[in-house]
Symmetry: C2
DNA sequence: TGCACATCTGCAGAACTGTTCATATGTCGA
DNA sequence: TCGACATATGAACAGTTCTGCAGATGTGCA
């Protein structure tokens, strides 16, 4: 890392840099947002969340849907729960999970929708 | 004692599981989507992409904005480029990068917008 | 009360990711 | 053509993340 403002940094377009810096969200906000994306960035977790789009499911059903072991499923759900992305409801011996974050729901929905469009289109290059 | 069924999988709500499985996108699609989210899941890369929302910037300016070393910036951009999220244009000795994926742009835009709403609201954890 | 079940948790190894350092490539100006 | 510069790349190392395992917790039923 080097000095941000003064030495050793040559800028090509200092004005743009300044204006970009200006509208750049606070570091915390960036980190939080990246955290959320990061949670969605694992295929297993993403599948878990997609499965929950329609409503709550219990751990063993989620394990079945995702193909994960129940332990792995539980670990994943714990992470998601820690970030308030899902919430759990206990019913007898079962734990039912549901999506609990409107923002995340939107992102997942959106991703699935886009998935269906892009379908099999895989341009080489 | 275990497995009365066959494959040692007991389901609580087999119908829901079937219907969820039904509308679950293909594995490939899930993985691709998770890949994209994963790219957005790193604060440095996310910052890079936010910086590019307004238009192209060269590597050294991007390094300045994100506070990354130029090498790290280059590596990050390479990754993003490999996934067709950004594209590069060479102009003399400089390389100008720009956002090249409408879907990603939308996600980043959305995230930033949401960031501004949620502002300082930080429930404990 | 005791047992079976569903889920949770800590731990340790494996796999992955991002950074730096060193060096390579390609461009410009003298 | 040479040297300074901007960026790219490869290798290696450090930190993080995920999984399975083993055992813990909590619940329902006989």
């Amino acid at each position: 890392m080097q000095g941000l403002d003064e030495c050793a940094v040559r800028l090509v377009d200092p004005e743009r840099v300044a204006s970009v810096n200006d509208r750049m969200p606070a570091e915390d906000a960036i980190v939080d947002t990246a955290d959320v994306f990061s949670l969605l960035g694992d295929p297993r977790r993403l599948k878990l969340l997609v499965a929950l789009l329609d409503g709550e499911l219990c751990v063993c059903d989620l394990a079945a849907v995702t193909g994960l072991s129940e332990s792995a499923t539980s670990h994943a759900l714990r992470l998601l729960r820690a970030h308030r992305v899902v919430a759990a409801r206990r019913d007898g011996r079962n734990a039912f999970y549901r999506l609990d974050d409107a923002h995340v729901r939107m992102l997942v929905d959106l991703a699935v929708a886009h998935t269906e469009h892009t379908d099999a289109i895989h341009p080489e290059r």
